[in-house]
Subunit: 430 residues, 2 copies
């Protein structure tokens, strides 16, 4: 059973504030181990990858090869369920279509004094995509990470995925192929991140590394940051459902459990204006848990981190939602647009009773890589912009330099930077 | 004298590769000290700020107050040189006009099957701006960091600046006022970063912290990252000038020295197709150094990190420039647009012989907070987007759920996530 907080209780603010700061993940301190792995890969390259993969993944890369071959991809298609491959194509096309709209426009203009200015977007030259092995090896995440890079125009998208006991989930390879990735290596962990950042004999380095991973992968990404760019470090998933009493409690319970089954550290929160409805949802959660294959995980998540928040009126849900800043926000109410207008902090918003968050995990179109742990207050989901960078452009002629130069000289001198002042003055014969 | 690399030498690639990986900064290990400071500020709030400020900045906040008052601002205007204030206004207006063009557009559309999708941008609610004290207390940086936040619509922009011996550079306060900042605290160092991230009795917490600082500030920003967002950690400044022999060597030398005077770790690089011109620039550098107030710093930078790269033809400069990925790139050639078309990695580009980089430091309009140390390969200068975040929007009705649901169910089942599948199936009576 999840905790219940009542907005009209005197101690609500204190309890809600404490709830907001609850840590859901113990951060394993693996920095030293990762530092050794990164140093080994930098020093010994492929040989280190082969050693670590033998030890950690129980896979013989001398035999299998570091690179996944075209034959491996062909075999993956044969091994995959055809209906699932079709579903991946359907997802791929929808994700691609949505991300196309995120391509930024270059800007170039001349201002009133004749100065030319601009912003020019270019794709990152090479990007590495980390894909976890084992049970968290999700083909949907391959699509979500690779397609924005593809749309951005990244020239080289490199995927790494550990082959536990030599095996890679065939759907992961199919998803990679559908997303246009042709360079794939069967390495994982901190050693794969090091290889992407610094390069080995087989793997040329990239400029940015994205994708989820375990504590070792996260620590390695932090350590190589600066040498390469990285994406956000994702925490456990979360959903906030704002629902009125006109919903079917079973639908809402199913949505809460869809988050909860990810991970015992996942978090599902319901805000409603009906105590009766909340009680019905709790009953439905308990009923559905009994027939859920991942019921143990979902039950732990709901028990430890789940919450139901009662408000007098749903308008009161909006400021609470902005403080929670959820990764996923469902507005299961009669007029979701009215609530949406007040929402400022949310990774992804799902409007109405027929938009369960799970649609966004797979086939909605928007990205499912989203800010967790309240970071939607200051960051956004993965997008095409994460795979591009902007150069600003400035162009003056002699007339413009005469107009702008004196102010720049004054400021340079005020900041004690005489060589700055001189670089303008020398051109103006001042 | 800077090193010279000749593109046609047999060992060029090896020397250039080594040059690219040269570290210009020793990273001081201040993590443990910063951890203590952050913990103290979290535990004791204002009292810790007052203690640390007394010790590190030799300023008595019990007497001065933590907050800068309206009277302090009025006094700063009286103390400031009026011509410099006018120059700051000129800069403010140009920076504001350019950043206005960076405001992102919301997107909302209905696709072919009737699914509503969108992207919705909102400003970060509260942002902290760190401004260094002492000689690096630059009013221009206040404008460059604050104006994008202002244009983004950030509701609360909070500035912190240490008051060494009680003194704050009046131009910094004037710049803050001109940029619309009304909440300023005279604290600095790791303690100021901790206060912005966690709040104290006087300082309410923010959601993101930006602005340059010393090793303590950088370490504190890394430590509070996650609780709040941070901007990039800036390294020493750098310029790459691509220049043909038709330039005045004195102009180019002045540009190289304008970077070099920042810091002994700054870097100035010239690529040219004329050995004679390179020699003339070196002579001009040595000549100009003799009359430069910050000559010692500039001389050390030019000697230790400066470089002149000779190429047979300026076309060969483009791939080298993309590998260098300079913070600032000057194209001092007859046809800069032709070179620009091949440039993919550069923080900011300055076109033609009359656009010295220094114009961009102050009054050009684009931001001067730019990616250093080759990070222009994967990141961009500060912009309005850094002060906003995007929520994706998805809205299905029953018809759309029937069309998209089955593919999502197939993928959820393939990923072993039955509660995911159920949250759709339950709505479709499947």
């Amino acid at each position: 059973m999840a905790i219940t907080l009542n907005h009209s209780d005197a101690d609500f603010e204190a309890r809600f504030a404490a709830f907001l700061t609850t840590k859901r993940e113990a951060s394993a301190d693996v920095d030293a181990a990762v530092r050794d792995i990164v140093a080994e890969v930098r020093a010994r390259g492929d040989a280190a990858l082969i050693d670590y993969t033998g030890r950690f993944d129980r896979a013989d890369l001398d035999m299998l090869g570091i690179a996944v071959s075209a034959d491996d991809i062909a075999k993956a298609y044969r091994d995959a369920d055809p209906a699932t491959v079709e579903a991946l194509k359907f997802a791929r096309d929808r994700i691609h279509a949505h991300h196309q709209r995120q391509r930024p426009q270059d800007d170039r203009y001349v201002d009133a004094v004749g100065v030319e200015l601009g912003s020019r977007w270019t794709a990152i030259e090479a990007v590495g995509l980390y894909v976890p092995g084992g049970t968290a090896s999700y083909p949907s995440s391959v699509l979500m990470n690779a397609i924005p890079a593809l749309v951005a125009g990244v020239g080289r998208i490199v995927m790494v995925v550990p082959a536990s006991a030599g095996i890679i989930n065939p759907l992961v390879l199919v998803a990679a192929d559908l997303a246009g990735i042709s360079e794939i290596y069967r390495v994982g962990g901190a050693q794969a991140v090091a290889a992407l950042a610094y390069g080995t004999q087989t793997i040329r380095p990239v400029a940015k590394i994205v994708g989820p991973g375990n504590a070792y992968v996260a620590a390695a990404k932090r350590q190589v940051f600066g040498t390469v760019g990285i994406d956000m470090i994702a925490g456990p998933s979360e959903v906030l459902v704002i629902a009125d009493a006109d919903n079917d409690p079973d639908w809402i319970a199913a949505d809460l459990l869809a988050q909860a089954e990810h991970d015992a550290s996942a978090q599902s929160i319901l805000i409603t204006d009906s105590a009766t409805f909340a009680a019905d949802v709790e009953k439905a959660v308990q009923r559905q848990l009994q027939t859920l294959p991942r019921g143990e995980t979902a039950s732990a998540s709901w028990r430890d981190f789940g919450a139901m928040i009662l408000v007098d009126h749903l308008d009161a849900a909006v400021p609470l939602a902005n403080r929670i800043a959820a990764e996923h926000l469902e507005l299961a109410v009669a007029d979701p647009e009215a609530l949406l207008s007040g929402i400022s902090n949310a990774g992804s918003v799902f409007l109405g009773r027929h938009t369960p968050e799970v649609i966004g995990d797979y086939v909605g179109g928007p990205n499912h890589v989203l800010p967790t742990a309240r970071s939607a207050r200051f960051s956004s989901g993965l997008s095409v912009l994460d795979f591009m960078k902007r150069s600003s452009i400035l162009k003056l002629g002699p007339d413009q330099l005469r107009k702008l130069g004196p102010a720049a000289i004054a400021l340079a001198k005020a900041e004690g930077l005489d060589a700055h002042a001189r670089s303008i003055a020398i051109r103006l014969n001042l």
